[in-house]
């Protein structure tokens, strides 16, 4: 008896009998006439990123490189954060004194319960997209596994100016290597989680972190 796979493939081939024998996929023309790269000035791109992130009800700060550690400490203190989750390979200088730090590492991984009870997480990112105000995480250094930025109720994310691209296609181009090579998971975050399910009223923070704060450095 034919397997499900054989049957489905047979059905697909029968259904596409109208496709000429010799036709290859690339013979079906795909006109990619859309924008692939922005042509804006660097400053404008970063400014647009900041503006678009803020429009999602995330808090955005801009800070110079040398002021970063102090600013992180100040923000966390103001929030009254007690337990901070830290991913592997986050720059040590970023981690402030005076909070309890939960480090995730390859050996003793933090449990989901520990993450759930932690007040917040501090990470870097892979990219920012100005066009859409999106932060991209790819489980790389200073970002960690996905659960780290999912269970704590607060996410503070550091984005370097040079990490910000203008348009969506630039981001997918930059991520291609990571995905093809190591197959690391990629997460796009555009503002805190939200729902409009009740009478179309927007409510922030359904299942992810209820607050997202972004520090743009450069």
């Amino acid at each position: 008896m034919a397997t499900a796979k054989e049957t489905i493939l047979w059905r697909v081939r029968r259904a596409t009998r109208d496709v000429p024998e010799g036709e290859r996929p690339e013979d079906v023309r795909v006109e990619r006439g859309y924008r692939k790269e922005g042509d804006g000035a660097r400053d404008d791109i970063v400014a647009r990123f900041a503006e678009h992130v803020a429009e999602y009800e995330a808090t955005v700060h801009r800070v110079a490189e040398d002021g970063l550690p102090a600013r992180i400490a100040q923000i966390l203190q103001k929030r009254g954060l007690e337990i901070l989750v830290v991913p592997p390979l986050l720059p040590e200088a970023w981690i402030p004194e005076g909070v309890e730090v939960l480090r995730d590492a390859a050996g003793p991984r933090l449990t989901n319960e520990e993450l759930d009870e932690a007040g917040g997480v501090l990470t870097g990112c892979a990219l920012g997209i100005a066009q859409t105000g999106t932060i991209v995480l790819d489980a790389g250094p200073g970002q960690g596994r996905r659960a780290l930025t999912l269970l704590p109720d607060y996410h503070l994310c550091v984005v370097r100016e040079e990490q910000v691209v203008d348009l969506v296609p630039e981001a997918f181009a930059k991520l291609e290597e990571t995905v093809r090579g190591e197959g690391r998971a990629v997460t796009f975050i555009s503002g805190p989680s939200a729902t409009s399910d009740i009478e179309l009223n927007r409510v922030e923070g359904v299942h992810g972190p209820r607050a997202l704060e972004v520090l743009i450095v450069g």
Binding site: Y56, E113, R184, S196, I198, G208
Partner: protein, 488 residues
């Protein structure tokens, strides 16, 4: 929580009522119409803004359409490539000829893991296969984790909108439901408080679940990457926390390469929630192994369940372009008035009117009535991000329904004037030149024949058609002009 049986729909065994009968019921529900009117108007207005921000929107639509065409014409090749890349990345691929086979595969995995509960992120494919009912019968309870899905699951109802399934419920109704079902004592009817109650209830479920179940928005043949596009974070929870993840996807959800996301991740959010980007999108490639990021086991179930029949129809094929954005629902004058339930299908609105009858097959009175649930105004075609010519497919399906009736029918049915008229329509619509002429003809000709805003008779080839059903007048301007003025 007591499991409730949902009312049957086109994908359940047995028959469903016709659209006309169900629509009449919906039209009597004033609350429903108020909720729906408010919701669709809001989304419509926002979508226009989000799309107008994009100077290259038309280029993106065309690229999306063409890429889907390429994929569908060579689907066998892409399916095999997907299987290979998912397997290479440490995932397991299953093939399911129909709903029952898909359900059995998924239930088998859950049973093997000893799971009595599973957490689910909204997936219309699993609604189509009636997975929850199947699992329940095996003693496995599936928790819906989208706020709206949770609401309708608790209420034992069917979704009325692809994107906002609980669009027909207001806050007071939701509060009562939560008080009754979620074990909370005090609760206001503020959306914020209602949402928080759901968050607390579901967080426990996420942390305890052994198996997560999801649908997929896209799967990349080249890399094996699967993606879930969402707003609430429950998609991330379901695809990250449980040690085992099972994803059910229709075979048409494939895209060829990673880079193709650059098209669809621009088209989908703006068409769907009218945002520049939705809050969360997860892209995962098999399992992470050593890195311990996400599930240790990943199963991808590829579902046919009638899709190859849609593929076989050269006009109907474009239906499989659909990326389930729900833009066509929000602009549809018929949907706006009747709501989703009248379609008796997990796929409501214009897309449902063409997808459902093709998936279940022509010859069932309920779903055969769906291609008629349209005034052919063309609004759906104009907003569709992958350029599905919905009116064309509607008319084509009307022709098929009629031909089917004729083949099966009695002499009296064969002489039915509707049949002849629909065949003429079908011919007209399958030829662009004839179609344009007919539109012009109708536009010029409609004035003397219109009565009370309805066209009651038409001259020439279309005459037989209006003898049986009223046509909505064809707008004097093109739809685009009208759209800008009316809703812009």
């Amino acid at each position: 929580m007591t499991p409730k049986t949902k009312p049957p729909d086109a994908f359940s065994p047995g028959q469903t009522p016709t659209f006309e009968v169900s629509a009449r019921e919906s039209l009597r529900d004033a609350q429903l119409r108020r909720n729906l009117g408010k919701a669709t108007q809001t989304i419509r207005r926002k979508r226009t803004v989000a799309v107008e921000e994009m100077p290259d929107w038309e280029e993106l639509r065309e690229a999306g359409r063409a890429l889907k065409e390429r994929t569908l014409r060579h689907l066998d090749k892409y399916l095999l490539q997907l299987e290979e890349s998912v397997t290479r990345a440490g995932g397991v691929v299953h093939w399911a000829r129909d709903a029952d086979e898909a359900n059995r595969i998924i239930a088998g995995i859950a049973r093997e893991k000893g799971a009595e509960e599973v957490v689910k992120v909204k997936s219309i494919a699993t609604d189509e296969t009636k997975l929850n009912e199947h699992l329940e019968a095996q003693g496995i309870h599936a928790f819906e984790t989208d706020l709206a899905e949770l609401i309708i699951q608790l209420a034992g109802e069917n979704s009325s909108h692809i994107l906002v399934p609980a669009i027909h419920k207001n806050r007071a109704e939701i509060r009562e439901l939560f008080l009754r079902e979620l074990d909370v004592e005090e609760l206001s009817d503020e959306p914020k408080d209602l949402t928080n109650a759901a968050r607390l209830y579901l967080r426990k479920k996420f942390l305890g679940a052994k198996v997560g179940i999801s649908g997929a928005n896209f799967a990349v043949a080249e890399t094996g990457t699967v993606s879930v596009v969402e707003s609430e974070g429950n998609g991330r929870m379901c695809t990250t926390l449980p040690p085992v993840l099972v994803t059910l996807m229709g075979i048409e959800k494939i895209i060829p390469a990673w880079r193709d996301f650059e098209i669809f991740m621009q088209l989908l959010p703006r068409s769907s929630t009218a945002e520049r980007m939705n809050p969360y999108t997860s892209f995962w490639t098999g399992v992470s192994g050593e890195a311990g990021d996400g599930p240790q086991e990943f199963h991808l179930v590829l579902l046919d369940n009638g899709r190859t029949d849609v593929l076989a129809d050269e006009i109907g094929r474009q239906t499989l372009n659909c990326i389930r954005c729900s833009a066509c629902l929000n602009v549809c004058p018929v949907y706006e008035r009747t709501g989703g339930h009248a379609y008796n299908s997990v796929y409501p609105g214009p897309i449902g009117a063409i997808l459902t009858p093709q998936l279940v097959g022509i010859g069932k009175p309920g779903s055969d009535s769906l291609p008629y649930a349209s005034s052919l105004c063309g609004a759906c075609y104009q907003v569709c991000p992958v350029k599905i010519n919905i009116p064309e497919v509607l008319v084509h399906l009307r022709g098929k329904v009629v031909r089917h009736k004729q083949d099966k029918g009695t002499l009296r049915q064969k002489l039915d004037p509707e049949n002849a008229a629909m065949q003429a329509m079908a011919r007209t619509f399958s030829d662009p030149k004839l179609y344009e002429r007919a539109q012009r003809l109708a536009r010029v000709g409609q004035l003397p024949f219109a009565r009370g805003g309805r066209i009651t008779s038409l001259p020439g080839r279309l005459a037989g058609w209006t003898a049986v059903r009223d046509l909505k007048p064809i707008p004097e301007q093109s739809f685009r002009e009208w759209w800008k003025e009316e809703r812009g």
